[in-house]
């Protein structure tokens, strides 16, 4: 089971990184970066780092890549309204074979990750005990507020400063 997750995650990671490097379209590069980050999250699961994998999914796949996609859309790019030679605006397809294959592989790895994380809960529920789920999460929580509390606070100040700075920099031009 671990080997299957490892192989699929490696394929997603390496292929996603290569496609980020080689594709011409920036929007496609963002989507390939998403598959690459998903593969890295799978590698975290094989290494036993559940909380880091969940954070990777929530912050990167849910936040940073969406931010990238919005930036690509706000900064123009190639003209997306494609028309054929008769001047009729062509409705683009929902996807091609490549995107469907990537979607299927992503769904498989997400299912395997969910199974791997939840398997202990499922077996312990079947055995009639309380679920043993939050091993690394509990320890990481203790370590964040005892040993690494200074870095924790500094990171909160860093995030506040970065978001205020980003809002000020990207502010539209006044009047002029």
């Amino acid at each position: 089971m671990d080997n299957v997750i490892f192989i699929i995650s490696t394929i997603l990671t390496v292929g996603g990184a290569l496609c980020v490097l080689l594709t011409k379209n920036v929007m496609h590069a963002c989507v390939y970066l998403l598959t690459c980050l998903l593969g890295v999250a799978g590698l975290y699961v094989t290494l036993g780092a559940d909380f880091v994998a969940a954070t990777q999914l929530a912050v990167y796949v849910g936040g940073v890549v969406i931010l990238m996609v919005f930036a690509v859309m706000l900064t123009g790019g190639p003209n997306s309204q494609s028309s054929n030679k008769f001047g009729i605006v062509k409705i683009p397809m929902m996807g091609n074979a490549k995107t469907y294959i990537i979607g299927i592989i992503s769904a498989v790895i997400f299912g395997l990750m969910a199974y791997k994380v939840l398997s202990r809960v499922i077996t312990s529920i079947q055995a009639g005990e309380a679920p043993v789920f939050t091993e690394t999460v509990e320890k990481i929580g203790f370590m964040l507020v005892t040993d690494h509390v200074l870095a924790f606070e500094i990171s909160s100040v860093l995030l506040l400063g970065a978001l205020v700075g980003a809002a000020i920099i990207a502010r539209p031009k006044r009047g002029v």
Binding site: V52, Q56, V59, T75, T136
Partner: protein, 101 residues
């Protein structure tokens, strides 16, 4: 199959892809994508070493801070890209010449 060496090879490959993307791509957003790849390679190294070398959880703390810094960096970087697009109407990397003269 799941040894430390294989994880280090994957991490090295990610780092090389990110480095080539930072150097060779001519789009500002693609450069930011390369920086994300480099940060992920370093975080993967931390988790791999803490799994195979020492088993304390300090190596799980560091990827969390790397992810935080990457989110902040992406926010500020994309704000700069959008501002640059408002000024120069382009995000090609060779158009960023305002600080040279």
């Amino acid at each position: 199959m799941m040894t430390l060496t294989s994880y280090l090879m994957i991490s090295t490959f990610l780092f090389l892809c990110g480095l080539v993307a930072v150097i060779a791509r001519k789009n500002l957003i693609a450069v930011l994508l390369g920086i994300e790849l480099i940060l992920n390679a370093s975080a993967l190294n931390f988790v791999a070493y803490t799994r195979f070398v020492n088993n304390n959880l300090d190596g799980h703390i560091f990827p969390l801070f790397i992810i935080i810094v990457a989110a902040a960096e992406a926010a500020v970087g994309l704000a700069i890209v959008i501002r640059f697009f408002q000024i120069r109407e382009s995000i090609h990397i060779d158009d960023a010449t305002q600080l040279q003269s």
